[in-house]
Subunit: 212 residues, 2 copies
């Protein structure tokens, strides 16, 4: 099963404008994630103590459960766009011990050997397209699910191809006014996904879509 | 108090593409309103018997309560765009007895005498801009609230000017893929409006914003 979750502003943006290595979420993009940072369920895997428990907690727990592999786009993995630059090596945003602890597959146009990190995370770079990456992630996940981490362009491709089985839109009641929209260029077809559950939580409303 | 409510798709559209006299909500636009048509609270004021009662009922009741006057844009009032055409008279979508039963103010660039309908509804056409229309509506409403009915362009103007005191976004879990977006060209400023309540209901999630 391919599952996907993303935070989206009321005006449909999942990243602010002017994304860069210094500002990976774009201007104002961090506002989309303020609901998650105070949560214990987010802090613990990042090595931080304490934190809140609220209506978002079981939603985040369900997102993280049974994930055997993660898929993401090159933009989410980060670094300067284009070919990998040996003079400016980029191993992701997450430091030596990324919080995944399972295989991660990165969609890219530029081949690169697998990158083994501490704590069980290996980044594998897939140049064969979205279906090849999903196949590889499914095989690596075994009995677990595959989690699609984003960003917007990777999500648009998997949604548009009808490959997403479950989707959680965490709708944040702010406007960004500009940036990258999730639902752009994928038409009017949710490919069988339908709203199955709504969870109202502090500073966010989770809309959970699945195949009913 | 100026209150506003609108149905919006997951991808931010409040009307589909190709709006016309024959298809006032645009292609696919009727999907935005499927949640309200079965409700008794919607059917009764339209002279229809029966209907459902669900979690949307109190939300609709609250929308309709204490309204002393309604504001709307020319596009919502309808008819062919441009100057009023005596050869194709247009008195709105709602028949001889519109369901408002109070004064309605229509924003337009084209002057026209007030239009008195049955059942207490009079359409007054205001050419002096959004503030003049709001002043007139407030005066007519007396102790009641002013309801901003839409459409998108009128709502954008009142939201952008910071004149809206309460807003209910009824988020419908469908994609339209094209059409008229509510949050377009009004930047990243909700002008003091914040999410105060979320109501999950069949086929819709109501997001209620107010000044906390």
């Amino acid at each position: 099963m391919l599952r996907f979750g993303i935070s989206m502003s009321l005006d449909g943006y999942v990243a602010g404008p002017d994304q860069s290595v210094d500002n990976p979420l774009g201007v104002g993009g961090e506002d989309l994630h303020q609901w998650v940072f105070p949560l214990e369920v987010w802090r613990a895997p990042h090595g931080l103590e304490g934190g809140e428990v609220n209506e978002s907690t079981p939603v985040v727990q369900a997102m993280l459960a049974h994930v055997g592999a993660t898929l993401m786009g090159r933009n989410m993995f980060g670094g300067h766009p284009g070919p990998w630059d040996a003079k400016r090596p980029w191993n992701g945003w997450w430091g030596d011990t990324p919080p995944f602890h399972h295989p991660v597959f990165v969609l890219t146009h530029h081949a690169r050997p697998p990158l083994k990190m501490k704590g069980g995370t290996t980044f594998t770079f897939v140049t064969g397209g979205i279906e090849a990456a999903l196949d590889a992630a499914r095989q690596a996940a075994g009995d677990g699910d595959v989690w699609l981490g984003g960003g917007a362009k990777a999500a648009q491709q998997y949604l548009g191809a009808g490959l997403v089985d479950e989707m959680t839109i965490s709708l944040v009641p702010v406007l960004l006014g500009a940036g990258e929209r999730l639902f752009e260029g994928i038409g009017d077809d949710l490919h069988g996904l339908a709203l199955v559950r709504t969870v109202a939580a502090p500073n966010v409303t989770h809309l959970i879509f699945a195949r009913p």
